[in-house]
Amino acid sequence: MANKNTTILIVAFIVGLLVGTAIGYFIPNPGTVPKSEYDNLKNQLQEKEALISQLQDKLSKLEGKKIKAAFIYVGPIGDYGWTHAHDVGRRYVDQKFDWLETAYAESVPESDAARYIERFIKEGYNVIFTTSFGYMDPTIDLSKKYPNVLFFHCSGYKRSKNVGTYFAEFYQIYYLNGLMAGALTKTNKVGYVAAYPIPEVVRHINAFALGVKEVNPNAKVYVRWIFSWFDPNKAKEAAEALISEGVDTLAFTEDSPTVVQVGQQHTKEGKQIYTFAHYSPMLKYGPDTVVSGQLVHWEIIYQDILMKIYLGIYNNTNLQNVDYWWMLREGAVELGADFGVPINPKFVPELKNKVLDHPQFGKISVYDLVMKRLAQMKEETVLFDPFTGPIKDQNGVLKIPAGERASHDLLWSIQWFVDNVVGEIPKQ
């Protein structure tokens, strides 16, 4: 009996196999399925997936999945510069995402940052943004102590599995401002009020000077250091000192609108001074003096980081290589005297009338040159970089060979001036 049953089973199996193969042979393979049907299936799948993620979203909301992000600021949010701009970004994401809760501590001394961060962590904050270079070491230390918390440090270079870095970089815009400054100056003396002799500021001065040089090889850039990120009094006195030495165009790296106001006052008194705003829209502080400037959109970066954390793309194991170095292409920075006003209309005719013979574009007005360069740097594949060789330093040493672009590392640690800058970099 057992034997017979076994034989039947084997025969049935073989017959099944044959029939299966035959059916398989006659049924067309997936590759020959009509494309419309394939697309249809795929669309259905995608719809289902979207639905799933929506449901997950709703579920996690019901479960109360929330991101609590804390921001540590080095200055007061009323500085109208660095910290103010970060806080604009914070408020933007806070309003935009209902799964996000934010808090901040302002004027946190760099030596005391750890205490503030720990307090936030104890209150349940699971994403910490530290927004000053000096917070780098405390951030790294605490990331080891709290491996489940995500840290993002602005302007630093140390990362780990739960520490990422981010920065909105301005040098492209400083270069564009330099183009305009070189065209507008009558005395061929362009001033620059600078905060600290660190690579970031040196890079910006250089980018600005390269722009000046491109349209006006005779003009020089005069630098004054004020050794402060935020000191309106010092900024005012440095700007006045530069003006009394014959400078008629001013750019700056400092967190108050003071330089613009000095320019406005002199312009009102009959001596036209051209200024370039820094960090926040300053057109209203100097409608007769501000030509353009650099503006930041931290919200673009914060939005991207927080969204990716929320979706689980970033977690506490994979931040080692997360480094935002965002510029014009990503929309993290903007050229402008005010948002949406790239160039103060008052100075547009002057810039349009100034025509030069450009090695790349031929006869071109400075206005068109600025717009062309702006467009080039906004491209997906950035078509132009201000730091393209040949670039020489103040001693005439060739630092960047012809045709080469400066590397990220070089720009990151730059400690020399290009050849049309007057002034030295004090040793720290």
Binding site: G78, W225, P232, K234, E237, A241, S244, S256, P426
Partner: protein
């Protein structure tokens, strides 16, 4: 030449808030009240002046508001020091911290907005004097006011009976009281005048010098006033030199920077001078000849 005219004028304009503030501080301290609240009063003056100028669109109303808030804040310190005989050091420090915090809170809505400021107004016909006219009489109205204040101060303090009374109250309130002077009244009067001027010096910063409200914009000027008062040995004429010296150092930092003089050295130099002056002034033999109020910081408790 023109370059130097503009530099010297800038020095005077940078020194003027210090001068006005120091004159205020002299008024308070001459009556024997130690005032460490200058920074707090000054920054309240700055924010209030800005706020009122912004709301009314008239910077002069801002100046008046700053004077009033200065008086109010100085009176807080006055009531504690004069009527309650409190610890003047602690009261003054508390006032500074309170002022810095409160000004930040009030100023929240005034960040990043411009204000109609007080421009330079040439003082005809004095501005036609060659060189000097451009330096002294083509500047802002509060600079003219500060010149006037110094003259009034000097005259009252050394040439009138009021001056003798004020000095007597600061040096020996018991004697003053026995002469039938109300020590309390004189001290309150000094506090009111001082508060008004320190508040005004704050508004100078936010409505003239840097026409904007920026948190913490006094940047330690209140403390410079405190040390300048010592430097000037409570004398209005010396206060002029002291204020312009400090103002000059601030401005010259950037003129001299290209010549390789480190800014840090220049910014500390006035403090070195202050320390030197303090060392000299603290010697007994010299002290007697100086104007330091002898009961500075000590509460006056009337004998019953």
């Amino acid at each position: 030449m023109n370059e130097w005219i503009s530099i010297i004028r800038t020095i005077i304009e940078a020194g003027t808030p210090l001068l006005i503030g120091t004159l205020g501080q002299i008024a308070i301290e001459r009556t024997g009240i130690l005032n460490l609240g200058a920074e707090g009063i000054m920054i309240m003056g700055a924010v209030t002046g800005f706020a009122f100028a912004r709301i009314t669109g008239n910077p002069w109303i801002g100046l008046v508001a700053a004077i009033l808030i200065g008086i109010f804040f100085a009176l807080i310190h006055g009531v504690i020091s004069i009527s309650f005989n409190g610890n003047q050091t602690i009261s003054g420090l508390a006032l500074t911290m309170f002022g810095i915090g409160l000004s930040g809170l009030i100023g929240r809505n005034y960040i990043g907005i411009p204000v109609k400021h007080i421009p330079r107004i040439p003082l005809f016909p004095l501005d036609k004097i060659p060189i000097l006219g451009q330096i002294l009489f083509n500047t802002n109205p509060l600079v003219y006011l500060s010149f006037l204040l110094v003259l009034i101060y000097w005259f009252i303090l050394y040439k009138t009976k009021i001056g003798i009374i004020v000095r007597a109250v600061g040096d020996s309130p018991e004697t003053a009281e026995s002469m039938g002077i109300s020590v309390t009244k004189v001290k309150y009067l000094g506090t009111i005048i001082g508060g008004a001027l320190i508040g005004l010096s704050g508004a100078y910063l936010s409505l003239i010098y840097i026409p904007a409200w920026i948190e913490g914009m006094t940047a330690g000027r209140g403390w410079i006033i405190v040390s300048l008062t010592v430097f000037a040995m409570w004398d209005p004429i010396y206060a002029v030199f002291g204020s312009y010296l400090f103002g000059g150092v601030e401005v010259m930092q950037y003129i001299l920077q290209p010549y390789g003089i480190p800014p840090a050295f220049l910014s500390m130099s006035p403090y070195i001078v202050t320390i030197l002056v303090l060392c000299i002034a603290s010697r007994e033999s010299i002290k007697k000849r100086l104007g330091a109020p002898k009961t500075l910081g000590k509460p006056y408790i009337r004998e019953k």
